[in-house]
Symmetry: C2
Subunit: 180 residues, 2 copies
């Protein structure tokens, strides 16, 4: 595999497993099985590396969202997809790491906005497959509830939080359904 890709994959794995503070050259190099000096060859500065990781992570998240509506797989219900996403610790760590990185590296904001649009396009299709109209605000609403519940669930990390997430997401989807 491409060394560059190996590096980005390893970085993404570290980000999903341990959060943004894992993203140092030595750790990524070890995880990717390449030399540290190799990292600066592909990404001359740590800034560039972080930006590349952020971009790669964004793309990975878009791809994952699209898999959920892959025609090959039986489409999960909108509610189930929302519950699963909010409960996915890896994904939520990616969100945390991404937002942290973007907040720090303001150069990335335009890219973040573009990729959020993509995420929401995927969400729109999911919503429409789930019988919703899929208006901008409906999708934004759903997005916020999933992210919010996901973050709060990661912070608490117990069964109570998981149950709450199921109830709240059901409320949200029902609300949007009635509103359509």
């Amino acid at each position: 595999m491409d060394a560059r890709t190996k590096i980005l994959q390893a970085a993404l794995g570290l980000l999903a497993k341990g959060g943004a503070q894992e993203l140092t050259q030595p750790r990524i190099a070890k995880a990717a099985g390449v030399r540290q000096s190799h990292l600066t060859y592909y990404f001359p500065t740590i800034h560039e590396l972080l930006q590349a990781v952020a971009k790669y992570t964004l793309e990975a998240m878009v791809a994952e969202t699209q898999v959920q509506q892959d025609p090959g797989r039986r489409a999960p219900s909108l509610l189930d997809a929302a519950i699963a996403t909010a409960a996915d610790k890896r994904r939520m760590r990616m969100v945390l790491g991404l937002v942290t990185t973007v907040d720090r590296e303001s150069k990335m904001k335009p890219q973040m906005r573009a990729f959020l649009k993509e995420i929401r396009q995927g969400l729109t299709r999911l919503a429409q497959a789930g019988g919703l109209e899929g208006t901008t605000d409906q999708v934004a609403f759903l997005h916020a509830v999933v992210v919010g519940q996901g973050i709060l669930q990661l912070a608490r990390d117990n069964e109570e939080a998981r149950e709450e997430a199921r109830r709240i997401l059901r409320m949200a989807v029902d609300f949007l359904r009635r509103k359509s």
Copy 2:
């Protein structure tokens, strides 16, 4: 002022202003006006320091929420409070840093759960003052939407995101009002 408190306040300021990667001994020491070696006196390891900062931050956030419903101040409407909170970058950086820290330091989870309960008690009172019933699920719902919109707003950081947050939070509050 107590040196320990000075240290924690300075750390909180750095966290709110620049995110979790600002939390190093030299920077905190400089911001607090104490020696670096002083930090290890009060907090022998950086772990203990981070945990103390997290705890202090949690307490500060609870306190801020309670100020919003201080009888001395004219109570802001529930919607205005939600919009202001989601738009408050400092607060959202605290949330990001906190959740990141707690996710890493699992010892802190019980504390995080306890403080989330406190936050929600404050939110419950706000909701009731805003004419809602204030049930557990209503509050949890509102909480999730505010956190989710806040995070997404921090990530995008433009007027479009701010407008969206206003619309979405209005939707959420209206929904809860109708449901009461």
